[in-house]
Symmetry: C2
């Protein structure tokens, strides 16, 4: 629809997740029409991220060094590991400031439909981290959906042989949410997990 490279740029933005053709067009035109938008800075960051960012050799979180800032921090509770699917989940949990232990990023969840089995996840490195007996509790913080639950179940069975407490994040009503709009499964979980006040 557009002359050559404008369309090429739109197509390239359209390849990114969550960006449809309309958004891609809007972004390309914004870049075209905003002289103050620093194109070279974005390009430089893209190149730098590709070059410098790797995954922490211990936990699998994103890092600019061999070990991420959390694994390097001696003040973190070394007896507690929170297992998550993705590095994005680490950032989400860090934002709560509720958790001061370490993480382990699996790199996905078990999903027969997507062809992801236990061997595709970073489960062996997790078992190695647990081998020396330092860790006393593993918190399974995989997503509360089919794949995440399957992964949590798989891991909890695998961990029963070790002398480690295994816990799962609570399911229930989202804070600020409306009971009326909660789905049945979530509402059911909220009843199951009810606490005395």
């Amino acid at each position: 629809m557009y002359d050559g490279i404008v369309q090429d740029l739109i197509d390239e933005f359209g390849r990114l997740p969550g960006i449809g053709p309309k958004s891609a067009q809007r972004i390309a035109f914004h870049i075209l029409q905003t002289p103050s938008f620093d194109v070279s800075r974005l390009s430089q960051l893209l190149a730098e991220v590709r070059e410098k960012v790797r995954f922490c050799e211990i936990c699998g979180n994103v890092s600019e060094q061999d070990r991420c800032s959390i694994c390097r921090d001696p003040r973190r509770n070394q007896t507690l590991i929170c297992v998550v699917e993705d590095a994005k989940d680490v950032a989400a949990i860090e934002r709560t400031r509720e958790f001061r232990g370490l993480y382990h990023v699996l790199g996905g969840a078990i999903s027969p439909i997507a062809g992801v089995g236990p061997d595709d996840l970073r489960i062996t490195p997790l078992m190695q981290r647990l081998a020396d007996g330092t860790v006393q509790e593993v918190i399974l913080a995989t997503n509360p959906n089919l794949e995440g639950e399957a992964t949590a179940t798989y891991l909890s069975r695998l961990l029963t042989s070790l002398q480690i407490t295994v816990t799962r994040l609570a399911s229930g009503l989202p804070v600020g949410g409306d009971l009326e709009y909660a789905d049945e499964v979530t509402l059911g979980r909220a009843f199951e997990g009810r606490r005395s006040v």
Copy 2:
């Protein structure tokens, strides 16, 4: 939340229109975790677009040459000009394949709130294009909102002195839409503009 440049890249994507912090994070991680994503191609396109793409000296549409492909095309109807707010609107109208005339991009719409007056739009170049008497009809295709209507009204008054037919795109129910869900103004316009069948 993230180590250095990952957060920088997220922030940079977050500066683009329509991309919130969550989408920006998702995009940055996609680029990080997808080795096949061609970072250098995106960078190259960004630089090329900045370097090569300009605005057509006649109509103001995006173009890789001094004149855009539409203004260069002798088969287009030279007696008909469709006035739009933005180059994106040219692409939207071209997609319909209904219009074979020329365009004129204003570069916005009159908006006292945003501080955009007639002098900020490409109205003088439009008047110059109309001066030689070739153009017989001007179609005002500004957006059917407050600013677009104000701009259309302003232009239609300005053009009454010339021997040119001035028309406005029809307002009414969107095709495939549901009458029940149409807002009152649109439904009112649909009644006003009703045609015998």
